[in-house]
Amino acid sequence: MKSVPDITRALEKASGQLSEAGFVKAAAFAIVACALAIAQSSPQIHSPQATLPEVHLDADGLTPRPIEQLTGTTIARHYALAWRDLAGALESSRTEGLSEEFIGFAKDRFMQRIGEQKQTGVHVRIVDHGHRLKAVFYSTDGTAMQLLDEAQLEIETFDGNKLIDTQSAPREYMVLMTPGADRWYIRDLEEVPAKSF
């Protein structure tokens, strides 16, 4: 019959081995769990459609009508949504999302552009690093707003899978937005020479 100390030593040895093995397993499990949790919690970047670009609106001194706070928030949000949808449409050469944020001239032009992209097999990928919007005109009856946008964009142009051009420089746009039932739409979006600001 083994003595208590013998049994104790045997148990300690066994528990140590078990502990060591268990520790390793537990550590591995914890690391994997953490990795999975981080992967789940981090923003999923599948494509430009998933995230909204940052838009900062400066409406100080806007004339002839001052902007309401809620209007400013809405404008910035829908402008960001519009650029997200536009980037998605230019990359996928599909027009489904354009009606949500574009109307009138802008919508017609982008629809045509994307249709021709699809025909020619080219597409454009935009990496949007944000927009600085300055409101320059707000009509008295609140039915039209004109803004200047300084945008930080990386634009990659592809013919099929072949990258044919990369541009990365600040771009400036003249924007005309008009209100709809529940949002502001982009009615005109025109890239202008850099000295507009």
């Binding site: 001239f105 045509q112 552009r113 009856d141 013919d159 044919i164 025109e190």
Partner: protein, 295 residues
Amino acid sequence: MKPTVHRSFARCRRMAGLALLCVLPGWARAAELHLPAAVEAGQAFSVHVEGSGEASFYLFGPDHVVKRTVSLGSDLQIQSSDVRTAGRYQAILCDSSCTAAMFDVKAAQPAHLSFFLHPSRVPVSSPGSIDATAFVFDQYFNLVLTPAAVEFRVTPASGTGFSREVSTRSGVASMRMDSTPHEGRVQVTAVLGKVEEARVIQQVAAEACGLRMKAVASGSLVTLETDPVRDCSGNALPEGTVISFTKIDESGKSTVDTPIKKGVARVQFSVHGRAQISVACGVVLGNEVALNGKL
């Protein structure tokens, strides 16, 4: 090997390398694009592309994509239909490698005015109540960003007209004006060169002023009729404007909301005992009539 031969061989190697350096760029040089910095919308132009052989040409515009095979060393035609929309364009030429160039397309001459005149109905004698805004576009509906002078000609229904010239900023001209004291149509025409757009607004009477009614008894009934309902400038309130009559007598309170017809509002009540009758138009109160019960 003798040292002299060794040095000669090294010199030749260096010269061959230098020669190769001179020649290779020529063999490896991509086709070049020479584009104008800016063109007017709808203006066709040609571009000379240097090099030899064939290349793929791409033109990316706001509403247009062109892709075609071109022969290098010749002139490339850009059609007017390719550059109708104002904005930044990118041209790319690819043979062994790709080269890109940018150019701007600016709006053409003004050809359209998008003219907004608000509100479509405005009370008379209201300061700064009429807003006129004109957006200047070219024939392709590009916003004309260069300053232009827009004239707003105002023609009221009565009284003398006037005009005001406003210079556009970023394609927009805007002005405000007061409504005149008289009801009726006011036509405002925005003019830029040969382009004209006219809009009409209706000046309507303001709030009722001096609202009065009179009572005519007939048996147990009393007929109430207002004087012609006018605003403080003497303009008649439009037909259909609701006038509220309220009668309080022994049977309780009775109300009738009746519209103006032919300038007046009329209602009939049956009266029991003493009665107090009042009249109102919106939030404007008129006179009160007291009936002592003896009809």
